[in-house]
Symmetry: D2
Amino acid sequence: MSELGHWPISVEIAVQWGEMDALNHVNNTVFLRWMETARMNYFIDCGFSELYESEGVGPILANINVDYIKPVGFPDTVTIYNTITLIGNASFEMGYRITSAAMDGATVAAGTASCVVFDYREGKSTPMPDTLRTSILEFEASGNA
Amino acid sequence: MSELGHWPISVEIAVQWGEMDALNHVNNTVFLRWMETARMNYFIDCGFSELYESEGVGPILANINVDYIKPVGFPDTVTIYNTITLIGNASFEMGYRITSAAMDGATVAAGTASCVVFDYREGKSTPMPDTLRTSILEFEASGNA
Amino acid sequence: MSELGHWPISVEIAVQWGEMDALNHVNNTVFLRWMETARMNYFIDCGFSELYESEGVGPILANINVDYIKPVGFPDTVTIYNTITLIGNASFEMGYRITSAAMDGATVAAGTASCVVFDYREGKSTPMPDTLRTSILEFEASGNA
Amino acid sequence: MSELGHWPISVEIAVQWGEMDALNHVNNTVFLRWMETARMNYFIDCGFSELYESEGVGPILANINVDYIKPVGFPDTVTIYNTITLIGNASFEMGYRITSAAMDGATVAAGTASCVVFDYREGKSTPMPDTLRTSILEFEASGNA
């Protein structure tokens, strides 16, 4: 069984009325905002945010991919699940799943994000520090899947 | 004691990371989004949304006023309180207060909204129906203040 | 030479200050907003919006993929290029390229969108009407590539 | 004739499709985004942004007031006009007017912003520096009104 992909993060967010667009459902950009909030929670919880504060090494978003599965309306509360699925030398892959309370937990979107580990002081990508790799594996081990 | 201004609505919303701007606190536009979500909850709960569905009579936003009192960051959860403070012939006034959980419930913003009662079928403002006025007074009576 | 992929749409949009996030560059969600505006211009210009008005047949967004290539700041003006690259039976693929005036036209992002042709009256996907296919091919022929 | 209120700033911004909400016109929050972009242009052009960079003295938004006069749709291009109407000891007042190209330049919204001059290094409000006051008066003199 893989050490990754255990979905340790879930974040609940109330849909806001103004997030709906002229087609009467939540606009496609909002799903990225939700994914980003889950991602930031992941980075805080696994110690990546702290590493950025202390060492200037942090993530940069390189690619986003989203499958829009069901339209979301207001009022509703979504839950965003987030996990790291792959760690490369200087990059990593994240997975996302978004479910709707109003639809009894049905999956409304799924996606991925590719991130690069970046040394902001040097201005270039850098191998993922071993301490961070270990923290991520420990954090993933706390997940439910 | 007034029949209005009893703050029957409170809505909790988790701050999202991407709602912060380049000054590292939540952007001024987001406070209006939060107020709008509280307002829509008010309109649903007092029966105004139903009146719009059945009769085509609904509110139009005419003015917004916001005092920005304290900057809000991520992560945090805000609570938006909403009440109607005045009912005119074809208009009404709403009051808002926003508090922060991270600041132990301190008020971070306060505001007002002026709305006009609009007959969307006739394309003009219209006196507030007596049934709606009664519903609002009953809904306000359920408030905590 | 293909009849598609001729990039008939280009839209200029001024970056707004509040579109930057706490990392001091334009937030990842904004690129989807820009792509969406270009897409709506495409749908208006190729006659798809008119078909939606008259027949209730319109597009639904199924997938978005974005490569973030360079960070964008304020002030700047971006240009979003949009084309259809593939037409299937009841779906089609779009391509996007976003360039920055402040970076002398450098490409800051590239992406794709997958859309399904949807009959909103029947509530299900539907084959793309031949008239629309013809309009799209004619519109693509007006492109620069 | 006053030295202030000469409207030296005008900024054109293309409406984006996704800025419309479920009522099919531009959401009320977007007007604040537009006003903010005009304000940042004002601060750059009058030297306030430079003062913030060099001295850590910059503006903080204390109050926003907006009259929503006409609904705005897509496609359209708005022009935001911005001026300073009053300079106090440690604060100043700005005026806004937003017009629509699709409505032949009709005013769609008007508003004000109250700002405080803030010393970010000291963490408290501070009197407006005389050099900034002079720059603002010179910049206002370049206006059209």
